[in-house]
């Protein structure tokens, strides 16, 4: 069984965030021994690693209160809020796109 609490703690740590940063900068350095075929636990860890990396980025840009890292509830709440914002943004974009489609679907004058 995967202990999410522990995986999150590891992914949130500065040590593991540095591993991610280094692996991004130096292509010869990889996070796991295996390059492909991630195990279930590696998959979960990687998701949390990127999630916390995004939060640290937001913190560095002063876009969120430091309370976000106080515990999992604060973190999950912020992630849920950001995801809903993204979802709303894409909805707006899609609506605009739909309008274009509505107009573009109109038959041109003289064309049946």
């Amino acid at each position: 069984m995967i202990n999410n609490e522990l995986v999150r703690k590891l992914a949130k740590s500065i040590k593991h965030q540095n591993i991610l940063r280094i692996s991004k900068d130096i292509s010869s350095i990889q996070i796991f021994k295996n390059n492909t075929d991630l195990s279930a636990i590696q998959d979960v860890y990687l998701s949390y690693l990127y999630m916390y990396s995004n939060i640290y980025d937001e913190l560095a840009l002063d876009k969120v209160s430091p309370i976000v890292l106080k515990d999992n509830i604060y973190t999950d709440a912020f992630i849920a809020w950001k995801n809903s914002e993204k979802h709303n943004d894409s909805k707006t974009t899609n609506t605009a796109h739909d309008v274009n489609l509505v107009f573009s679907n109109k038959p041109l004058k003289g064309v049946k």
């Binding site: 590891l10 195990s39 279930a40 209160s65 509830i73």
Partner: protein
């Protein structure tokens, strides 16, 4: 000079910290690779990821077991258990609604709290939302556990446990003449194997590697 004697609380705290440190180190080991090797009674074992062929075989065994369980009149599907319990005055559908309501309320509070965090609202405002979420999560877990207990012996649960158990047959290997081979020659041999210590140890790795 008089030495300060550690209180029970302080000692417990140190033990908890050491335990967590050890758990984190073990987790780091588990993360390094997509297979896990260990020694048991002087034999080298490893648990590896399922191959595509393994997954196909597990899928077929799943169907076979499902059909077999379906023929057993003493084993009830979840849907049937809903009816049985309803007749006894226990409404699982009502628990489902309760779970959905808690989840919706938690999500709503998450969104509000997330916005407050982005707006850098005072900690007291955030904490009020946080504490409401904690209370709701506790109620949610109680409802989930209650539901799980009532449906514990459903066909679906029996099937899930069966698949989890037999999946280890496919992922557990031992080293023989410098070659990794299946630890058991057949499912029958695996089923009749008695050393629970080895199986438990291997199953922990199997769940970490293969079960999402």
């Amino acid at each position: 000079m008089q030495e300060k004697i550690m209180t029970d609380e302080e000692a417990k705290d140190i033990v908890a910290q050491l335990k967590e440190k050890h758990q984190l180190e073990m987790l780091e080991e588990d993360l390094k690779d997509n297979k896990a090797e260990f020694n048991y009674k002087d034999i080298e074992y490893r648990v590896r990821l399922f191959t595509r062929k393994d997954k196909e075989e597990i899928y077929l065994l799943n169907i076979k077991k499902y059909n077999q369980l379906l023929k057993d009149p003493d084993i009830l599907k979840e849907a049937d258990l809903y009816v049985v319990y309803k007749n006894k005055g226990l409404d699982i559908a009502a628990i489902d609604s309760e779970i959905r309501r808690y989840q919706a309320e938690i999500m709503d509070l998450h969104l509000k709290l997330g916005k407050e965090e982005e707006d850098k609202s005072p900690e007291s405002v955030c904490k009020a939302y946080h504490d409401k979420i904690v209370t709701l999560q506790e109620s949610l877990y109680v409802a989930i556990i209650k539901r799980a207990q009532l449906l514990n012996h459903s066909l679906e649960n029996i099937l899930e446990e069966y698949i989890s158990r037999i999946s280890l047959f496919f992922s557990l290997e031992k080293l023989e003449n410098e070659k990794w081979i299946r630890a058991f020659k057949s499912l029958d041999e695996y089923d009749n194997f008695n050393d629970e210590e080895l199986l438990s140890m291997a199953q922990i790795y199997n769940l970490k590697l293969n079960i999402k």
